[in-house]
Assembly symmetry: C2
Homo-oligomer: 367 residues x 2
């Protein structure tokens, strides 16, 4: 099978970035509005995964994130197995927001659901609606957040017919303020603890969809384990909030956190500091990602540069806290390992077991 | 021209509501999660326009709202005049969130933008992107909020090709806590101050689009004032935060607020109390709404029951504060009038100048 790359899969970051930069500059210019209310922003949070405002007694963190196109996989798999999978899709959507929010040290407090359908008919499917609601609620319970409300508009002509655009917004509090993790303490010698992913999570899905189109059996293709490709893709994103809350309860404040999403392992170096991130151990690669890499003809650079390859979330902690961090994560139900360390050196991610290095030029997630 | 009703225009609330009720029940069941963090929800905020959590020193309010289909009007009008109108569309989107948030007495603090396009190409149009960013920033400045970030995904296959799904989430603080306006103090004798709308705002747009399809000149149809129908529809939604903030600064705490959106004047009775809302004066009806009513063959019941007809926001204040409320709103740039009063009696909205009454059965915005 011929190679598939991201541009063919419909995601072209070169077309998005100019607007993103324009928006980031305009957004930064509005920070002064907080003065009217006696508040100040935490400027270092701009460009991070959640926005942080100093409210005196604590910090307020907020984020809005979307699922992306993963619901299209659920829609296709329903034709194969009859299941809706929207309980899993709900967890994915909530995870996109919550896993970003917790990177700054926030406790997620409340979420709003944004479910925009391509027409009123979408909501008429009772089983799918129930699965979406049940999955959303279960994910809220798992993260300890209150589901405050949401929007369920029918947007014929804006959202594609028969589809739904799913997003979540989340608000959290950083309490005590010493829990704020924007990376000021990130330093050489820190350990990098990788929290295991469950599969593709919600990034790299366009590539997977493209592959499904080319496979003779599509999503029904069997993996070596006999699992169906489409069903394996729909393993829900791990919710990492129980881990960060358990760490806080144990008195461990990470020096930095990175939610591994759209830029794969390049995301490890998202902090602005010039540091080298060296890995000598790798998490287990979920079968579906190994299959995706092989079938799309991607080399390790492409795979680790775009997919999580088993690393769902990176915690940068004091070396002395590393082993306990792994134990606490495991106790919270998330396998983890001390995979590498932070070193003085050029900005790069070095994955020694694969002989792979990503330099600063490989990452463009900031303005 | 034959009559157009809302079901023909693609919005069928009967298909949305079962999911909405299911979601509201599940959401309410997650409130207990806040106990893990030593927080409690303000239960009376469920079913209101923003969700409120008690954080001790103050209340935290949050909301996510979408624009709806108004961007389709901008897209169509661009073919007529060459202008993008996305600066106005940006204000509309922000207004949907901010005008809801302020109903509970919150000062809007930060917003996130959600701009989901039908493909990367959407973002390649530099003028449209610039207008969207500029309009968003200007609206943030007008409301005194900090634009904390956002999402600009390209969702081919989910969002319709060439379109964009726009939404906003907003976080606010209720400080001091005595500013909370969930309606406990709403009582017979209160005055109803109506803040003038600028036009259709972002509700009733499906109906307007349907009408444009039937008009020989479409959106280019001239209104009596010579304004183009499409351009008049694109008058941006009024931002009411400057009014509510000015009232707070003047020591006036409304007894209740209602953002007049999808259910027109029926929204006036959204508070759960059994009260009669009697109007003896009406705000000026924007020309575009008068035209829309006439051309769709809608009677006053349909027009006032679905469109704002000049009433963008309702403030329920102590009778003694009414005149000063009007003056403060005017000073903040928003025309207002004391249009009616709250009375003991059955739950209904009585619009005397039109001989029109909406009963409780006419409104179903709560579970």
């Amino acid at each position: 099978m011929s190679k598939i790359d991201y541009t063919q899969a419909g995601v072209d970051y070169s077309k998005i970035d100019p607007l993103k930069i324009l928006a980031q500059q305009a957004a930064a210019a509005t920070a002064g509005n907080l003065q009217r209310h006696g508040l100040t922003e935490v400027a270092a949070s701009r460009g991070e995964s959640a926005y942080v405002v100093d409210c005196g007694a604590f910090y307020l963190a907020s984020i809005t994130e979307c699922l992306g196109t993963k619901a299209l996989v659920a829609d296709a798999m329903r034709l194969v197995t009859g299941k809706t999978y929207y309980d899993r899709i709900a967890q994915d959507t909530l995870a996109m927001a919550v896993n970003d929010l917790i990177t700054v040290g926030a406790t997620p407090v409340s979420v709003h659901a944004y479910w925009a359908a391509g027409g009123s008919d979408w909501f008429r499917d009772a089983q799918r609606a129930k699965d979406l609601v049940d999955g959303w609620r279960a994910a809220c319970d798992a993260c300890g957040v209150s589901w405050g409300g949401g929007e369920t508009p029918a947007l014929a002509g804006v959202v594609a017919d028969g589809r739904i655009d799913l997003a979540a917004s989340c608000v959290g509090l950083v309490r005590p303020k010493s829990r704020l993790t924007l990376g000021e303490r990130l330093a050489p010698g820190d350990a990098i603890v990788i929290l295991q992913s469950s599969g593709i999570h919600a990034n790299g899905v366009s590539l997977a969809r493209k592959l499904a189109e080319r496979l003779p059996q599509g999503y029904a293709t069997r993996l070596p384990s006999e699992a169906m490709f489409g069903e394996a893709l729909l393993a829900p994103t791990v919710l990492y909030a129980p881990v960060t809350e358990a760490l806080a309860a144990a008195g461990i404040v990470p020096h930095y956190c990175a939610n591994i999403t759209g830029h794969g392992w390049r995301k490890v170096m998202r902090h602005p500091a010039v540091l080298t991130y060296r890995f000598d151990r790798l998490p287990e690669v979920p079968e579906v990602l190994r299959f995706l890499q092989r079938e799309t003809g991607s080399d390790d650079r492409e795979a680790y540069g775009n997919l999580n390859m088993g690393a769902g979330f990176a915690l940068f902690v004091a070396a002395g806290d590393a082993a306990r961090t792994v134990a606490i994560a495991a106790a919270a139900g998330v396998p983890a390992l001390v995979a590498g360390k932070v070193e003085a050196g050029p900005k790069q991610v070095v994955i020694e077991p694969l002989g792979l290095t990503f330099g600063a030029d490989d990452l463009h997630v900031r303005a």
